[in-house]
Amino acid sequence: MTDVAHAHDLHAAPPAPTGWHRLTAAGWLRVLWVTPLFFGIGVALPVLLRWAADWHPLWKGSVILTVELVTTPIGFLAGLGVFDYWAYYASGRPTRPEDHSGHGAHSWRDYFHVNTDHKVIGIQYVVTTFFFFLVSGFFALLFRAELAQPGDQYFNPQTFNVLVSDHAALMIFLFIVPVFAGLGNYVIPLMIGAGDMAFPRLNALSFWLLPIGGAILITGMVMPGGGPSAGWTCYAPLCSHQPLGQVFFNMGVQWAGTSSIMTALNFLVTIITMRAPGMTFWRMPLLVWANFTTSLLVVIATPFIAGSQFFVLFDRVLHTNFFEPGGGGYVLGYQHIFWFYSHPAVYIMILPGFGIISEVIAVMSRKPVFGYRLMALSLMAILVLGFSVWAHHMFVAGMAGWLRVPMMVTSMVIAVPTGVKVFSWLATMWNGRIRFTTPMLFALGFLSMFVIGGLSGIYLASVPIDIHASDTYFIVAHIHYVLFGGSVFTIFAGVYYWFPKMTGRMYNERLGQLHFWLTFIGFNLTFFPMHYIGLQGMPRRVADYAHRFADINLFISIASFGLGASTLVFLYNVINSWAHGPVAEGNPWRALTLEWQVSSPPPIFNFDEIPQVVGHPYEYGVPGAKHAILGAPRPVPVLTDPVGAD
């Protein structure tokens, strides 16, 4: 790589391409022709291969569709320019040096291009994922309208099932999991004193896979014959016999999963190799710890959902018998593989939130995090235990009987490290000087709601209770208490907390508090009654139900509209403050962690000089304590390359 041409004066964006070059330069114009090209390849490839291998019929819709869902997105990415650097490298041409034209955003348009700056990517992530949050929340409101009365009013069961499946899939794969990746993207390099992520181009690729995954999931809904309607869990063999839209589901999950693996890998490498001098593991903010453990979970567990979706896809497209009992397949194998990812996934969806809460509570209570080391260790404990409980989703599935009790015990034991966290947060607040800003309100809302959700998890972990409650609205209540009352509340806390850092402007505190109260009340009114109807006998995933549940369901539906409306307050606040809010100072919360020690928004390379970390991140109230020294003379000698590289 000696051939890398070092242009010293290429700091500004390269001159805009003109004439034909506009069509060949990376960007949306190129997308316009490269995507159809790859679409064509996606059709030609299977047909030609089948012709060569003499398989008939040559034209097989489901096969072509599957290949299509791989090639077309690649075409899109190539057109956009995500692969440019690697393509240059691969073809042996001189690669363009990092000229920083891909850094920083100067106008809103820059957010629609490939950008390698972790701060830009972070915002791209958060905004995109919130878009999917709104869409899938909107789906929820649609099917809640249907559920307001028994019988079928607006949607037939097919459409209803599609709405439920995509509601959950979008929420999980395109909101909760990636929004944490987005927030992490923005703050982690800052928090550990690095200039960017370890692999900025991979980072850009991870982001651009997301809208693809989302677009595929949503397109699948409107496919002729019906969208994916087997629930987000997509159990075989039902799932292998669904209308064509199901293929979109299987493939959309793959793209989102790939994105999440690559981001996780990037986080891990960044956290391991790019911490500022002095930033030992025991001096890392807990958010970094949380993302570190989450990323380990992602890297290890996510391939399993990829596998599970491949198998059902193959069962459908290639008529394999992985899970077809008639051909010697084992039906429950799917569930084991699926939950081996999807249980750890629920911790993927909550651990980063735990990190956010630790930051917010410490800063807003002006006290060090209570039991910092145990907090970090309990994250690790959850990580390890999380891999040993997957079959608690299968207590009634008819799996091997001897597995039930061990799985019950491990599931229960997870309450212990989680409890350590809850109690430590409470102890952090104890005797503090608490400021009830919006992030803190959401943190408190999280604490109380997550405990309810966690406790209903304990009910479910008890096999006999689960036998009664499984697959009823009790589960739906549990899901939303941990995912909405848990994860979403932490996300709101995080978004408000870092809003000044990310946008350089302050949000409106009164609207923020209004948003919190509306959400908190709407949330409880919507989801608390679900415990009751579930235990009483209402199964989940039904468009029609017994008349005795009519009143409560009407109540829930009305409450859910209120909950949806509360989101509008948030949207107004965010959009308005981003455009017109008062300019934020660098450190409005007087926090100690590194991201607050730079301007808001941070300079293009985060730190002009590498900060020197000298102490713990949460030493509030300790006289003279310092977390890091900025602008210190560069430590000599700077280790610009790790030993063993090159």
Partner: protein, 330 residues
Amino acid sequence: MRRGSIIQLTAIGLVAGAICTAVALAIPWLPVAGGQEAGRIHFVYWFTTVIAICVFSVVTAVLVYSVWKFRAGPDDDSDGPPTHGHTQLEIVWTAIPAVLVTAISIVSAIVLAQNGHAGTNPLVIKVEARQFAWKFTYPNGTSFGTLTLPQGRHVKLDITADDVIHSFWVPQLSQKQDAVPGQHNFIVITPTHIATYPVVCTELCGLGHALMRSQVDILAPADYEKWVAQGGTASSGPPGLAVFQQNGCAGCHTFKPALATGNVGPNLDNLAQEAKQANRGALDAFIKESIVKPQAYIAPGFTDAMPHTFGTQIPPDKLQQLVQYLAKGA
């Protein structure tokens, strides 16, 4: 910690606990326990609830107390005391939850074992689930679309499925078990009440999942014997009705004579009209074709969602009964 704050904290905790207890007791959370197993499960439920209320009250007490006492004034820029941790405290709050969840686990495991006991002479009934109907087969070989059980006897259900996964659940009996194709699963039920309860399919199994219902009639032992002796009089209607019910037609179709309310497929009350519109021969022939080969003609406004397998699934004589039954209703 001062004495005063301990008292205040305890008071808040007690109030929170009292409110939770009131909520737990005032609302009838669980359906009546119609069987021995359900009774035991309810016990585990209440056992867990007591622990859950304690945990929640402790958390709420500390939370409310902190919110109340540790609020910083608007111009207060001071920091809290720099406490970093407290080893004993941390050990305590690791140990206590560990003990509590162990207790729940032990109780659960015992109940699970008890609920699996079917005695030496259980009544074994085969349960077969298919989109979207239940079929219950008795030891003497007769089968029905609804379940009839004797009170007070251990019943062992041998559950399987023909197509996709379903799940057998009777809320009042609390026992639930997935019906998995290619596999036999078992649950034990010992009914204690003479009553009729719904059978609900709780696993998403396709378009008719919401309407995949049946019922369980629990009879006094003597009545049950009588019922068996008479060869089971469950389906009192025309023979076609039983076929209709056993094949899950109600999951997708509305048909008044059968009290069916599905609307995935066309309303079968209007069949005569439909047949005319379709113009595919006589009414009987049209109905038969629609069942055996639904893809031959797709009713306007619908998709080809009706299973293509009924032709092989329903024996010819039953099919004939079904066609007649539908033709008469139309």
